[in-house]
């Protein structure tokens, strides 16, 4: 059933020699194209990928005054609406603020090809969680600050954040906000949930959710097991992951979520979840029965940090931004909206005058008694352990 065409076409015959000639020409052309291409790729493959610029000694060169454009990558709902316009007015820098960080790992995966080549895709400032900041620094993807350009930071950084394990000298990571990971419960439907272990109570089967962030969920479950998370061994991590796996397989845990546990809490799909302190304030506005509960075993403390990537087009403006937000007055404006834990000393005093209920909110300015059982967010020890633990955890997430 092949097309026969019109008689005029059918009547033209080709000699076999000519046919062979044309065929070989066609193939030669294709082969040539393929050869050229493979040769081009081949040369690319022979060399190892470009060496990443080392982080040590990458220092920002300070110019006289910030100017130009500033592109910032941050997590969603992490800033109020006024700060960016105010900053632009104060400094004359034009800011492009994008909220494209949804998960540390996904962000790194996305940025890695750029950062490995010394580029940042236009960004001069990024906000990532502490362990990711350390990882990026070790990979050589970050620049170090010029202390002279950020006096407010040097002056006002909260004392308990000064000597952080992931950046002891505070050379490359400036906390944007801190936060607590704990329990978010619907007090009407799950009144007895006070500990992480309560999340495994079969009474709440299918209505419990946990975060898909390894370093939030697993340490909390380790706390339920009585482990000192800041000195946890690989075996401790894996044991906790096993426990989570059992709960997932039995249907106890409905889902592993990112930010979207807030939907499920709002519409009743879930009644008790592992969540973040900042979200609880927003959720209460939707439904007064939802609140953040400090687990009896304690919470996990973490910070999201501002970092300057290699290849940043305007590091001066980035540092100006850091300096700007470390002014307690400006920080108070952010804090009133964001409702996480402020890293800037003096913010509470400013807010006491203007919005005292925020200043006295335990979740936003936690007194030491509130966080007495809390631990700093831990990370697995060596890269090999990290890989193994990651694999085990992701195997649970992926069912």
């Amino acid at each position: 059933m092949s097309e026969r065409g019109t008689p005029s076409e059918r009547s033209s015959e080709m000699t076999s020699a000519r046919r062979k000639a044309v065929v070989s020409v066609g193939f030669a052309l294709l082969a040539l194209a393929a050869a050229i291409l493979l040769a081009a790729c081949g040369s690319g493959i022979e060399e190892p990928p470009a060496e990443a610029a080392t982080g040590k000694g990458n220092e920002v060169e300070v110019e006289a005054k910030p100017s130009g454009d500033l592109t910032i990558s941050n997590w969603p709902y992490y800033i109020d609406k006024q700060t960016v316009p105010d900053f632009e007015k104060a400094t004359g820098v034009s800011v492009k603020y994008i909220e494209d960080v949804n998960s540390n790992e996904a962000f790194l995966a996305k940025m890695k090809p750029l950062l490995a080549n010394g580029e940042s895709g236009g960004r001069s400032l990024m906000v990532v969680t502490d362990w990711m900041a350390r990882k990026m620094h070790e990979l050589g993807y970050l620049q170090e600050f010029e202390p002279a350009a950020i006096p407010n930071f040097e002056k006002n950084l909260a004392d308990n954040l000064r000597a952080a394990s992931y950046d002891p000298g505070r050379d490359f990571a400036a906390p944007w906000q801190s936060g607590m990971t704990g329990l978010v419960v619907n007090t009407e439907k799950a009144p007895d949930v006070h500990t992480i272990c309560d999340l495994f109570d079969p009474k709440y089967k299918g209505k419990v959710e946990m975060l898909n962030e390894l370093r939030d969920t697993v340490p909390l479950v380790m706390k339920c097991e009585g482990v000192d998370v800041e000195h946890a061994t690989e075996a401790d991590w894996l044991k906790a992951i096993e426990k989570i796996k059992g709960a997932a397989e039995s249907g106890q845990i409905r889902r592993f979520t990112g930010n979207d546990y807030t939907t499920d809490m709002s519409n009743g799909n879930a009644v008790a979840v592992i969540g973040w302190s900042g979200d609880a304030v927003q959720l209460q506005a939707d439904n007064p029965n939802i609140e953040f509960r400090m687990p009896e075993e304690g919470c996990i403390l973490w910070s999201d940090n501002m970092v300057i990537p290699v290849g940043a087009p305007n590091p001066t403006a980035a540092e100006a931004w850091i300096n700007y937000v470390y002014d307690p007055v400006n920080q108070a404006q952010i804090e009133a909206f964001v409702n996480y834990v402020s890293p800037v000393e003096g913010t509470k005093e400013v807010l006491l005058k203007e919005e005292p209920e925020i200043a006295n909110n335990k979740l936003i300015f936690p007194p030491p008694s509130f966080t007495k059982n809390c631990s700093i967010q831990p990370s697995p020890g060596t890269p090999k352990e990290e890989q193994k633990i990651n694999q085990a955890f992701n195997a649970v997430l992926n069912g």
Partner: protein, 294 residues
Amino acid sequence: MSASASAPSRAWHWLREHAVLIIGVLVVIYLLVPIAVIFFFSFNNPSGRYNFTWVGFTLSHWENVFGIPELNEALWTSIKLALLATVISTVIGTMMALALVRHQFFGRRAANFLIVIPMATPEIVMGSSLLSFFLILGNPALGFNTLLIAHIMFCISFVVVVVRSRLIGFDRHLEEAAKDLGASPFTTFRLVTLPLIMPGIFGAAMLAFALSIDDFVISNFNSGTTVTFPLYIFGAFQRGVPVEVNCIAMILFGVTVLAMVATTLQQRRAEKMASVRPDQEEEIPIVVSTVGAA
């Protein structure tokens, strides 16, 4: 038979007679329900960030459809990408279709195979293989250009199949008539062939545009930091899809429906002119592309 006994049996009989039609209508309703939901929720006024429960009616999101800069950028990127990919893949695909239908040559079977294989490959495999390709080539900046390359690649197959089906039903006598009247092959092509297959080319172009603007999987792997409309939605799902997304989706929907209707009417007119057999339903390009010569 008393009236009460025959009424249920009559009803049952009617049901059996029309069972197929009833099932058909139910399935169509099932297909349309989510679209209706999208439409209704574009008028929703959610109190929080998430648009999953009905709260109240408002027109504010429709009034402010283009009020979210990130969304607009993503939409504009998608449209640019789709336009470029459509134009390039339609040209390349039409050329291929002409070659395959009109000429006998060695390697025709292989070429056919080459065209069909991408349509039979899961998108995730295509996306991941392209990513591997770009990674091994030494990390070129993934972005608009890599997306464009990917989109053209998967559109070509569909364009070829659609245009080819259109060419198959084409009456060669018209071209012969033109040749008999002294027209050169190029003129014949330009003045006779091309206008008559234009509806098919246009249909293929529309298909390519739809595929490109809706592509998620392949784009997700190869976009780097560029954000297309589907990628924006995926990212937004975590933190709350704004209602404006629903509005834009309905706008796209409306535009596409109008375009489909217009093309159908146009094709009907062209069919009459080209004496293509009228029982060939060609306004659904996907149909013909999949069945081929079945």
